[in-house]
């Protein structure tokens, strides 16, 4: 008797969940994977770090300008007021990351709305919205945010708004381009023919398919928002009641000739965080960009 023919249990071409597929692609980018792990660590540190470390970043705990390694109680040394640099950096992580995320959210929200409306409705709506976008492109971003923060008060929500409102133009252009491309595809026409209304077409049919490049851009936006906040707080335009990385550098800048570590070390925190974000962005690009997928 011959062996019964066994069929493979699962056809290899069977469609897998898009997230599984994207994760497989992401995993192949080792740099992005390491960066993601680091980023998670930084976020965890930002959330529970102040509790774990337990030292108040505002306390003057030791002689000013204690160098790193001079006293093992203060591993990263102390700043110009004798505050523990490590405590300040841990506390600053929270502010930098919260502002980075929420400012990016503001700009993505504005950008996606403007881009989606422009790409979906075309005609005079598109013309008007793209002129509007162009208008925000010519504003000198940092100067404009500085003015907003200086005039309307340096609270965290105001800083978030000031950063978000000047950095959405790239998102708007990407969203519009995707909408222009997708709205002509057959499944959109089919869905329109079956009676879907505009709002549904825009947000349930087109937007989910336009997401990949928007997600990649969003990751980068978080990084540039963190840099932006660092720039503002370096200039002293920050909430005086909280510590942030840029602010540590800005307030110690006057003394950097005597104690350069007070400006170099907090900068490393910003640099590493933004570097990880951009590496993760690269990884997301590999994972979500269908053109690169070898099929």
């Amino acid at each position: 008797m011959s062996e019964p023919v066994t069929l493979p249990e699962e056809a290899p071409e069977q469609a897998r969940h898009p997230f599984t597929e994207a994760w497989e692609m992401f995993r192949r980018n080792h740099a992005a994977l390491v960066a993601l792990v680091l980023l998670v660590l930084i976020c965890v540190l930002a959330v529970i770090g102040p509790v774990l470390y337990g030292r108040d970043p505002y306390d003057m705990v030791w002689a000013p300008f204690t160098r790193p390694g001079e006293n093992w109680d203060f591993i990263l040394g102390t700043d110009y007021l004798g505050r523990d640099l490590l405590a300040m950096i841990i506390s600053g992580a929270r502010v930098s990351i919260i502002i980075g995320l929420s400012a990016a959210f503001v700009s993505i929200f504005i950008g996606v709305t403007v881009g989606a409306l422009a790409g979906f409705y075309r005609g005079w709506v598109e013309e008007a919205l793209m002129r509007f976008t162009e208008f925000f492109q010519v504003l000198p971003t940092l100067l404009f945010s500085m003015v907003i923060v200086a005039l309307f008060g340096a609270s965290l929500p105001m800083i978030t708004f000031a950063i978000g409102v000047v950095s959405w133009t790239a998102v708007a252009r990407i969203t519009r381009a995707e909408f222009l491309r997708i709205r002509e595809l057959e499944y959109v026409t089919a869905s329109r023919a079956s009676g879907a209304r505009n709002a549904k077409l825009m947000f349930r049919v087109i937007l989910p398919n336009a997401l990949p490049p928007i997600i990649v851009q969003s990751a980068l936006m978080v990084g540039s928002a963190i840099l932006f906040e660092a720039g503002l707080s370096f200039l002293g335009l920050t909430d005086p009641n909280v510590v942030s990385w840029g602010q540590i550098i800005g307030s110690n800048r006057t003394y950097f000739l005597d104690a350069s570590f007070t400006v170099t070390i907090p900068g490393v925190a910003i640099f590493v965080t933004v570097l990880c974000i951009s590496l993760v962005g690269d990884g997301l690009n590999d994972a979500l960009n269908p053109k690169l997928r070898a099929r």
Binding site: Q137, V138, L142, V147, A150, V274
Partner: protein, 325 residues
């Protein structure tokens, strides 16, 4: 569509954009708590309510918003940006006196970034897996991730503190006396670090883009034709491919003007460079409304005119641009 008509339409757009910027800035200042009279009162160490009213009347601050706005736009169109109470000088004078320092910094940094960026990009495109190509990737990551003021401070730590090659701050050394040549040399000496710092952001961008553009062009049909007819690789790269690869780089450089202004503010602050950036920073801290408005207007003007010129230059050079519109 012919070039002249396109030019005129673009100029018209630019003018409308500029007026819109004026309206937005002025409204923003108007909406903010406190006005010029308060600033003057503060500078004078406090004055009574009656005098405050008098100042408001004199400067027309008691007029309705639209009247004030109209008057301001009218003044700007006559190149009158108002008077700075903090510096006791005309805003236009202040801006023009600080402009050369900023122009020197910005133009030299951009030229450096463009030239070095394109050279790096072209070399690394020819060997996509070579050391130089990896270096460009690294440079691009660093340029994107490092806060520019931190890069500047690192430069100072390394090249002023550890190896004292360059001065810590300012644009010239007042103790140095001499003719034009000596002075120019002194300024160049002060310029090196701020220029390198500002260039670092854009160098990353340009090298990455020109590598990508060059690699795309090198894979195109006409380059294969050029190779096939027996031209040397050098000729193919520098005479045929480079011209076409440059077009996106120039477009991007034109679009970076707004970022250049932002970068200049931070770099000038780090190096105490006496340019528009430091002036803007001081005017914001002092809440010197006419000066803030003037600088915002001026930087928007620079960005808009810069974009316009880039656009028109590309249209002249690259026939692929602007088939539509």
């Amino acid at each position: 569509m012919n070039f002249l008509r396109v030019t005129l339409i673009r100029i018209l757009y630019a003018a409308i954009l500029l007026i819109a910027v004026l309206v937005l800035n002025f409204s923003l200042m108007h909406a903010a708590p406190g006005d010029v009279a308060d600033t003057i009162a503060q500078a004078a160490g406090g004055i009574d309510a009656e005098a405050l009213e008098q100042i408001r009347r004199e400067y027309g601050l008691d007029q309705p918003f639209l009247v004030q706005l109209g008057r301001y736009i009218g003044n700007v169109l006559q190149f009158d940006l108002g008077y700075s109470y903090f510096y006791s000088d005309k805003v236009t004078n202040l801006i023009l006196s600080r402009l050369p320092a900023t122009l020197l910094l910005v133009i030299s940094a951009q030229l450096l970034a463009l030239v070095v960026g394109v050279v790096l990009g072209v070399f690394s495109a020819r060997k996509p897996n070579g050391i130089l190509s990896h270096f460009v990737t690294f440079l691009a990551l660093f340029g994107y991730s490092a806060p520019v003021f931190w890069t500047g401070l690192l430069m100072l730590v390394v090249f002023s503190l550890m190896v004292p090659l360059f001065p810590v701050a300012g644009m010239r050394d007042v103790t140095i006396e001499g003719g034009f040549f000596v002075q120019a040399l002194d300024i160049a000496h002060h310029l090196v670090l701020p220029m390198l710092t500002l260039a670092s952001i854009f160098l990353a961008l340009y090298s990455r883009l020109s590598r990508a553009a060059m690699m795309e062009v090198l894979g195109s049909d006409y380059v294969r034709t050029a190779k096939a007819k027996g031209l040397s690789p050098r000729q193919v790269v520098y005479k045929h491919a480079l011209k076409n690869a440059l077009s996106p780089v120039i477009t991007l450089a034109g679009l970076q003007l707004s970022a250049v202004v932002s970068g200049a503010v931070l770099v000038e602050t780090v190096f105490s460079w006496p340019g528009l950036g430091t002036l803007a920073f001081q005017s914001i801290l002092a809440r010197d409304t006419p000066l803030i408005l003037g600088i915002l207007f001026f930087s928007a003007l620079v960005v808009i005119v810069g974009n316009l010129l880039t656009d028109l230059a590309l249209r002249l050079v690259d026939p692929r641009v602007g088939g539509k519109r």
